[in-house]
């Protein structure tokens, strides 16, 4: 199966600023891929590179099997794109906007359009410039979902929306998931955790990891080791142990390469006096916080990014 999105060493520089650095990314068909990372990590730049809004400075990307630099015109009949800062036809009513976009897409599904309008409770006769931010996003969703695109790209789609609107949009999105591939960026982990199948973590333009959500959840564990007596942390702990800390007889850390028995043996080997060891599953938010804090705690150096990747991959 060909990946829907595939990038190789993709890079983008604005002057001397490196926005995206050597991005290797694969989004399989049918995935709901969430690209997460802090503000300024380069998520929007990556999406604009994929959409041929920006030209890459290095490497290349393929979207639906097409070189992103050649993506144009009819190719966008198969792509739905919604961005938090996308300009819209503000002077038009919602109905006029949908009327305008409809002829561009041979596969436009009028029934689906009407269903989405009802689902989102969109006021067709109101001008877009008079709509709230949430309503505008709903209108953008309808105009990007009604033609059943093969790929839906969403750039921070839920930022600044109230929980009700966000849930409505996610619900509309999930309904489309079986027939499409969804690639979305977000800095809010909670909003994507519930429905993403894949996740990638971006920091300072580099992808620290990219994998299936289930694999990620399986891989990370919050480890609590109870020792028989207080003792300092050993030096040279494995790189995959993030944020190790000790309080009296208890040592806590996040294990980024958890493998059931093997990890238990590894912990016991380092803490022979352990009275009890527990491995607790983590939420996505906890995982990313651990990664982020771990990276911030690392000494800045030229090999910083490599070190970060080694720790979490």
């Amino acid at each position: 199966m060909n990946p829907t999105i595939h990038t190789e060493s993709l890079g983008k520089q604005f002057g001397r600023t490196v926005a995206v650095d050597g991005l290797d990314l694969t989004v399989p068909e049918g995935a709901i891929y969430a690209l997460v990372g802090p503000n300024g990590a380069g998520k929007t730049t990556i999406i604009k590179l994929l959409m041929n809004i920006f030209s890459p400075s290095a490497g290349h990307a393929e979207v639906l099997g097409i070189d992103s630099r050649r993506l144009a015109g009819k190719d966008f009949r198969r792509i739905g794109y919604v961005s938090e800062n996308l300009e819209m036809l503000e002077g038009m009513t919602v109905g006029a906007m949908l009327d305008y976009f409809r002829p561009f897409y041979p596969a436009w599904d009028r029934a689906l359009e009407e269903q989405l309008i009802r689902q989102f409770d969109l006021p067709l006769k109101r001008k877009l410039k008079h709509l709230s931010r949430g309503m505008k996003m709903k209108a953008a969703f309808v105009s990007s979902l009604a033609y059943r695109p093969s790929l839906i790209i969403l750039d921070e789609p839920f930022t600044g929306l109230d929980p009700l609107v966000r849930d409505e949009l996610i619900e509309g999105l999930i309904e489309r998931a079986p027939e499409t591939t969804i690639f979305l960026s977000s800095h809010d982990l909670a909003e994507i955790e519930s429905f993403s199948s894949h996740v990638g973590y971006l920091e300072q333009g580099r992808l620290l990891f990219s994998e299936e959500m289930s694999v990620l959840s399986d891989r990370f564990r919050e480890v609590t080791v109870t020792l028989s007596s207080p003792s300092p942390l050993p030096v040279n702990l494995p790189a995959s142990w993030l944020q190790p800390q000790t309080v009296d007889c208890v040592v806590r850390f996040v294990h980024s390469r958890y493998k059931d028995q093997a990890t238990a043996r590894e912990v016991t080997a380092i803490f022979p006096s352990a009275r009890d060891v527990s491995f607790d599953p983590m939420t996505l938010r906890s995982i990313f916080l651990a990664i982020a804090k771990s990276n911030r705690g690392a000494a800045p150096s030229t090999s910083h990014q490599t070190t970060a990747q080694e720790r979490v991959a």
């Binding site: 959409m51 809004i53 920006f54 966008f76 300009e87 819209m88 036809l89 976009f101 002829p103």
Partner: protein
């Protein structure tokens, strides 16, 4: 095509107010502008304020286009990365075609119709001047429409475009001021508008295509900025860059005998060199009398520019820049004329007590009479072949004149000669007692190139009554009904340089 029409329809629905404004101004222009033409202005005498507003209409038409073009292009703007259309199935060729279709229907068609109506109002049949009208639209494209479209494609909003246009206008004004500081009245050779037009069309067209096809904003901006800046820098600020152009346009004949006219230094009792204060305080104007000879019958010579070279055994050697010559022509019957130039006061002060050699180099255009049309000064409108429709003007007798309307282009260069009477016209007067011949030049030497004009009718008039003054009073001369008026059309023969050396020239005292 379907997508083109779809985008076009969207733009029409969205920009109907801008369309309405532009159409209203164009319609007002077509309807009201003929009131500006002199005979009508005199007969109808609309209020002065109305006249001023009407005279603004040819300026308001392009201003309305400015708004229209900005709104149209910025609807799918090409600068930025957040536009909705970038990720929709827009095809750039169809988008561009939609914009062009809009301009054809709401800019070109209205102005074309307006120009046809103005021709009709002036008494011309538009179909007879169709090629000229279409070529005029091409010039309007090169001078107004395409530059505005190109600017709109490299800016993100009407405000930014306006600032850019104002910046460009300030830049041009600055260059002109700087240029005039370097050279007060630069002499420019007659240029080929078609070359400039082709250059503007190519550069602006390339910028527009680059933007629509690739959205390479900086490349498009470079295309728009670099060539004109380079051209201005070379032509204005690199000394001598225009000299080769002058030499090419006005080649030196192999011998003085081959010159279109023989010039010699000719002071006599009536014609003496003069020195006077020039417009600038640190410059002195010098007037040198010349004797003319060697002009063939039916020819005329128009001096376009003059350059002075001064050599003194004891003092500095000074070469003036080329200066334009205004309001002078040499006809076969002219035996005396003069040439004037300005020189720095410091040089004048240094040389005024010493004789020196001066060499005058004059750039000349030789023209030849092609045909003449003789009419009697009429009472009503009359047609002059290859020229236009003219009418007599006598609104403040004895001041008399002729006002002519020429279709689409300026008329070919022509001399208009009349016989003035020194005595008032009277019913009994059939032959003027004392008559004086008066000659005026009108029209352009290169009439093939249609000059730029929102107004397709060229209006030009000339007063035919010669008032001259003596020490005591003004003496009017009269142009009487029935007096002969002769339009003589001229064609270009050649352009050439001729020079004249004057030995032991003494600068006259400052008057």
């Amino acid at each position: 095509m379907k997508q083109t029409l779809h985008i076009f329809a969207k733009d029409v629905r969205r920009f109907w107010p801008e369309i309405l404004i532009s159409l209203t101004i164009t319609a007002a222009f077509a309807w009201l502008y003929p009131n500006q033409w002199l005979p009508m202005r005199l007969s109808a005498s609309p209020p002065r304020m109305t006249n001023q507003l009407i005279s603004l209409l040819p300026l308001l038409v392009p201003v309305s286009w400015w708004l229209l073009i900005s709104r149209l292009i910025h609807a799918e703007r090409l600068v930025g990365n957040t536009q909705f259309w970038l990720t929709r199935p827009y095809e750039w060729k169809k988008l561009l075609a939609a914009k062009l279709l809009f301009l054809v229907l709401f800019l070109y068609l209205p102005i074309f119709i307006a120009q046809c109506l103005l021709l009709v109002a002036a008494g011309f049949h538009p179909l007879s001047y169709l090629p000229g009208l279409l070529y005029n639209l091409l010039i309007i494209t090169g001078i107004i429409v395409l530059p505005l479209v190109a600017l709109a494609t490299v800016t993100s909003s009407f405000a930014r475009m306006t600032l850019t246009v104002l910046g460009i206008l300030c830049g041009i004004a600055g260059i002109l001021i700087l240029s005039s500081y370097v050279n007060m009245e630069p002499f420019t050779v007659p240029y080929e508008p078609s070359y400039s037009l082709a250059l503007v069309l190519s550069l602006c067209g390339a910028a527009v295509l680059v933007q629509y096809a690739f959205r390479k904003v900086w490349l498009a901006r470079l295309l728009l900025i670099a060539p004109p800046v380079l051209f201005i820098c070379i032509s204005e600020f690199i000394p001598g860059s225009s000299l080769s152009l002058i030499d090419r346009t006005y080649p030196c004949p192999a011998s003085t005998a081959g010159a279109p006219i023989q010039l010699s230094y000719g002071p006599d009792a009536l014609h003496q060199p003069k020195a006077y204060q020039a417009r600038r305080a640190n410059e002195v104007g010098i007037d040198i009398p010349l004797k003319l000879s060697g002009m063939g019958e039916g020819f005329a010579v128009v001096p376009d520019g003059v350059q002075i070279s001064i050599e003194s055994p004891s003092g500095p050697r000074w070469i003036s820049p080329w200066e334009p010559v205004y309001m002078t022509d040499y006809l076969p019957e002219d035996k005396d004329s003069n040439v004037n130039f300005t020189m720095p006061r410091a040089i004048y002060d240094e040389l005024k007590s010493t004789p020196f050699s001066v060499r005058l180099t004059i750039a000349l255009t030789q023209v030849q009479a092609v045909n003449s049309t003789r009419i009697s000064f009429p009472a009503h409108e009359f047609s002059v072949p290859d020229f236009g429709i003219c009418a007599p003007l006598q609104w403040m007798p004895p001041l008399a004149g002729i006002i002519c309307h020429s279709p689409v282009r300026q008329p070919p260069l022509a001399s208009v000669s009349v016989l003035w009477s020194n005595t008032p016209c009277s019913a009994s007067q059939t032959e003027p007692g004392t008559v004086v011949q008066g000659v005026g030049w009108i029209g352009k030497l290169d009439p093939d190139a249609v000059p730029f004009g929102i107004v397709p009718v060229w209006e030009f008039g000339f007063i035919l009554t010669n008032e001259f003054q003596d020490e005591h009073r003004e003496h009017p001369r009269y142009l009487c009904p029935g007096s002969p008026v002769i339009f003589t059309r001229y064609k270009l023969v050649r352009r050439a340089q001729t020079s004249l050396a004057i030995q032991d020239f003494h600068l006259p005292a400052l008057q």
